[in-house]
Amino acid sequence: MLVVFSLGVVYALPNIYPPDFAVQISTESADGTFTERALNAATSRLEKDSVEYFGAEMQENGGLIRFPNDESQLRARDLIQLALHDLPDEYVVALNSAPTTPQWLVDIGGEPMKYGLDLRGGVHFLMEVDTESAVGERIEGLEQDIKRTFREKDDRIRYTGFTSPVTGALRIAFPDEETRDRGERKLKDRYPQYIILASKSAPELTLTVDDASIREMEDFAVQQNLQAIRNRVNELGVAEPLVQRMGRDRIVVDLPGVQDTARAKNILGKVATLEFRMEALPDATRSSTQKFDYEGYSADIEKDVILRGDRVLDANVGFDPDSGMPQVNIRLDGDGGELMHRSTRHSVGRRMAVIFIETKTRDRKVIEDGVEVLKPEPYVVRRVVSLATVQSALGVNFRITGLQAGEARELSLLLRAGALAADMFIAEERTVGASLGAENIKLGAFSVSVGLGFVVIFMLLYYKVFGLAANVALTANLVLLVAVMSSLSATLTLPGIAGIVLTVGMAVDANVLIFSRIKEELKKGMPPQQAINAGFERAFVTILDANLTTLIVAVILYSIGTGPVKGFAVTLSIGILTSMFTAIMGTRAIVNLMYGGRKVERLAI
């Protein structure tokens, strides 16, 4: 018991060290290394403007500078942005809070509880990807492809109509059964992945895309948006963003510390695109080409665009069956395939470039009221992400080979990010201002301590010495609760604090059950020591039953709740478990300590 309690104290300890105000710098440079130079540039600027700071330290991919108060933290952020603006690489400068957990605690895995957005301030978005229309568009594309297949010159098949009876299915009507059979053979040959059935009553074929394929299309649409958001979030200057898929078609985006929701939405809403262009011939005129850097060399690329990202349906990493080397498989829609074919059939041996285009915002120095400030301005970045030799005339499906595994992955991600994006909209948004967050923490902590104080007083008055034991157990319970929360890295929310408060109130229940049993046994004339034993034993089953059912309810609450309410369920569940432990084991240990091993005449209960 004592061991568990001391462990509890140790792991709860990180929470009493208040975090420092800090500014976090991370880099967006290509190799992802953060240089001491940037940190020095930042600190010397701070010294120049005499902003107080302490503990500038290098971290993985970035640096962290701590400040004594929020005022200097805010000023420092602007100054650091200005200072780093002149350096070649791009940096993300974000407000953060740095834990001050002592090293020996960090070494044994101690860390403070994480605060939810409602406590630290920030924006929470729940984005919904319009997978239904994404799938619809795919099916429409399929229809176009099939029509093109039927119109092929050497094997023309006449059809009379296309209908879509349900999503994911196409019904094709033919003039007669013979044509239908030819069509069936051709489609089965061309599209082995779909289910193709001939109708018995009419010259018709039904092509069905199975659920797994539809799920795949949906997955693609969601993954694509997920990737796009991940690319964008960096621009917002957020210290610890969370971008996570949730369920079938939703994406959670948590941006701690962000207050300007309008700007966040603008940046997240932007999409990247692609252009496929040929490398210029040596005799091309200057005005028809554009210079790009690619892998350290400069390349002249034609200005004419073969096709854009909206024609790309899919891109994924595969392996070349011949060489076993990684490759990127690209699939275009029907029109895209046609455009690609037209451009490449006479260009075998030339190189084709894939250009990735995105709109970013960058800060520009302007003089406002005689002071240098940074103003955000949008700009377009175009870069060549692939330059590969065309081996043959390309169509709907083609591949880029000769890549390393990492390159292939990176390229397929970029291709996906630039492909036609499924629409995405905001299903839910919750923004909490920084001041409200801080206020919530203050009020929450205050309620917990005052609530605890009142309960402690009440128990002392009502149960006297045994009340003291219960109070020690109650305090131990609170410490254990915090320790368990911390070591599980569970997130504390405002309803979570309410859960802690409730736990304080309900945790004495187990003790009360035990004590009233002991009182009863005493009344029946049992000697004190035996009464204590009997009380603990008899109450045990009751405590178990009562707490297990409450735990079941808490688990249900966890499974239906979203964000903050989940936080309540978490603290409530952990609270139930720790309170059972402290009441049964803890109180007993204390009572034994007080009354054990000696003859007791009277119990103060």
Partner: protein
């Protein structure tokens, strides 16, 4: 506490009171409905802090002038804090409605003439609201169902029915009070409702546990007297736990801030009703269902858990 209240002597009056209260709640829920919060209805909400006290009437006027309809403007905590709730606007498409909060904030900033600080802004889309409503309902039903099974397994079916009726009673009356008082029912109140189920169940189980034990020990006593004795034996514990829980809840209500007050109120009502229901509703149901010594005669599995029972039998 050494009490000898004849609880069950008043059981008919209590049953009447309970039935009337539940019926009143159902009537209020039917006619008055519940003030569903943003979490369930969908829409936008903006909470801002002004530098100086402001008049909600003026803000209402500004918003109407700016062309918004259906907005509700109220103080939130102090006369400098304003909460604006606004449903999706018909003249805007779904994308624009998702950004309604930003527009309202901009419009407030423009019309106020003083610095205002954003404290909180929420948007809940129609799909999410509907889902939450369904999930909430399913959650409550699942909770009741699982409790029924657990208690039936650990005790006996009659106890399970008693416990579930008591929980239903507590949830209905708490909902009824929210409906009558026109308080906002948001996600935290739903959480409170589930916590009420947990709390009230805790109480009911403690009482049931004692009733079961006493039925096995007092073999020749009438069921009503067994229940009366059990209630008296557990009364002290029931009251102490309720008092400590109410202490912390009132603390939370007074000190915890506006955001958590719905939760605190919901639980306070629930704990009060739940304490009463574990004494009167659950036990009353046992008598109505005709509980008797035979129902609990066979120790079965429970005997192994509880060595005391082996000597009793």
């Amino acid at each position: 506490m050494d009490t000898k209240f004849d609880f069950m002597g008043y059981r008919k009056i209590a049953a009447g009171v309970s039935i009337v209260l539940v019926l009143l709640s159902i009537a209020s829920l039917t006619f008055n409905q519940v003030e569903w919060g943003l979490d369930f209805t969908g829409g936008s909400l903006v909470e801002v802090a002004y530098e100086n006290p402001v008049d909600p009437e003026a803000i209402r006027g500004h918003l109407t002038e700016a062309g918004y309809t259906g907005h509700v403007v109220q103080y939130f905590g102090s006369d400098r804090d304003i909460l604006v709730r606004i449903p999706p606007q018909k003249n805007l498409d779904s994308k624009e409605n998702a950004r309604l909060g930003d527009r309202v904030l901009a419009s407030l900033k423009q019309s106020s003439g003083q610095n205002i600080e954003l404290r909180r802004s929420e948007f809940v889309g129609p799909a999410v609201g509907e889902e939450l409503t369904n999930q909430g309902g399913i959650g409550l039903m699942t909770a009741l169902g699982v409790v029924l099974l657990y208690v039936a397994f650990r005790f006996q079916l009659k106890f399970a029915v008693g416990a579930v009726v008591a929980l239903f009673h507590d949830v209905m009356i708490t909902l009824g009070v929210f409906s009558l008082a026109r308080w906002d029912f948001d996600l935290t109140v739903l959480a409170a409702l589930l916590a009420v189920i947990g709390y009230s169940l805790n109480d009911t189980i403690v009482v049931s546990d004692r009733i079961r034990e006493n039925f096995r020990m007092m073999r020749r006593t009438k069921p009503v007297d067994v229940i009366n004795t059990s209630l008296n034996q557990t009364l002290g514990r029931t009251l102490v736990t309720s008092i400590t829980t109410l202490i912390v809840l009132v603390t939370l209500l007074v000190l915890g801030g506006e955001l958590i007050s719905g939760f605190a109120i919901g639980l306070i009502i629930g704990v009060l009703v739940g304490t009463y229901s574990s004494i009167y509703v659950a036990s009353n149901m046992l008598i109505v269902l005709g509980i008797s010594q035979e129902d609990l005669a066979i120790p079965e599995k429970e005997g192994a858990d509880d060595p005391d029972l082996m000597t009793g039998n």
